[in-house]
Subunit: 197 residues, 3 copies
Amino acid sequence: MINTILLVGMIIFAISSVIFFFFKKSERMNSAFLVSFFTLASYVLMWGGSFVAESANGQPIYWTRWLFYAISCSLLMLEISKVKGIKATGRVTELIFLNVFVMGTGALAAVSSGVLKWLFFVLSSIAYVIQIGMVLKQKAKESNWINTYIYLGWTGFPVVFFLAPTGIGLFGTAVALGLYLLLDVYTKIVFNIQLKE
Amino acid sequence: MINTILLVGMIIFAISSVIFFFFKKSERMNSAFLVSFFTLASYVLMWGGSFVAESANGQPIYWTRWLFYAISCSLLMLEISKVKGIKATGRVTELIFLNVFVMGTGALAAVSSGVLKWLFFVLSSIAYVIQIGMVLKQKAKESNWINTYIYLGWTGFPVVFFLAPTGIGLFGTAVALGLYLLLDVYTKIVFNIQLKE
Amino acid sequence: MINTILLVGMIIFAISSVIFFFFKKSERMNSAFLVSFFTLASYVLMWGGSFVAESANGQPIYWTRWLFYAISCSLLMLEISKVKGIKATGRVTELIFLNVFVMGTGALAAVSSGVLKWLFFVLSSIAYVIQIGMVLKQKAKESNWINTYIYLGWTGFPVVFFLAPTGIGLFGTAVALGLYLLLDVYTKIVFNIQLKE
């Protein structure tokens, strides 16, 4: 089941990479391609099955996902900054460093256990709240749909993390991977299609 | 003893993160917060006790510290460049790459032994001398205290590295962690308070 | 034999680091120094013999090389962008992310085996073709020699990767290291001397 989900992820992001590469209408599309291509590589690595940790109850933990997000979501953050009209280099740099913090401590939370796991989870969540706070308070014409996108899409990841074997273990890794895939499609493909219009 | 020092480090940088986040007087403060927040995460990871190597004489080597410095000191370098009036993007980029080199080879020196350790230590030190040479030769109004800060603060790190179990082992890891904590407070908290005024 | 080649690499890049540092005629030389210095550190690490994987037929795989290229070739990419007159920040950012992708998936291809290896090799190659496509289509006065440099120099790396034990294993690791060294000298030293003139 896990392998099937990861294979579906590979196929989806292989297709979106090809489409974003060839059917670009503007400069912007290259970023959409890069985000899809990094996500494809992430799915290939997870499907390969190396670099996988194990949770306390024996479920596989695909922690490498968060390191790829450190890169792909930095690219998304650059796009969002552009749409939101955040132009100050210092501000954009802060958003990128915050993103690296969120994803880096996320990976550490995924491979840690006990108190340490929750410390990293809390640190990652605080950085995330600050990060999206900086984005949301920025008013822009195209603002509304971007805010929805962040509320529903980006925030879904820490929620799944919390409920999955990386957190309280309400459901198993297979369900978590399915939900992450839906979120990946929404935040990395649907988002970039909307951006295109 | 080691755990107590690391716990104290966690508490100090948790407090400084909160203070820098809420009591900011300008744009600059966000960078101060980020530096403290990355350092907090670094102390949490060291306190957790994973990713720790061992020296030839059986002392624990907390090598992850240097990877976090690759990020936090790059942020400090951006601040210092601003104060020093280093505006050319190419020059700032070089300072960041030099910083990544210094900290990366520092981490490699920490986990290596024998000739290899000293080769990395020498490479790291050369890059450090070049890096601060570039900063110090830049004249600026606020120049004097920044130079003192770099001489006393930044240079303290390779000195402790050399004397600690990562180097000749004149003292143990507990003493090294205490000294690093003092240096961290000076270079990442006191510095940013001075910058604020 | 392997150790001798790596030692020769260390000596060559130590000398080129010193020369590029002291005999610089312009700003540009600092980048040339940094590229040589990162490559020196890479050879020191390979010579040290840690972080070495093993191929299916028992040959050592020096995968760390590709992580250092993620940094040094990003610096080269900044130089090439300057010569080629690629000034848009977004475009340069894309070239850097592509370079990190090429080298990151290259490292993953080096340590993987079977289908997974070839998936990463294909992904890395696609990103490489896109990357140099972006560079080559950019017309510039100094364009001709840069194109030759990329065709002969940069493209040599994936070819050696394919033929070496990281790929089909036509020759052993010693031959691969010798060829990589020649390519390193051409793309990181000869290139920067030509750039100087």
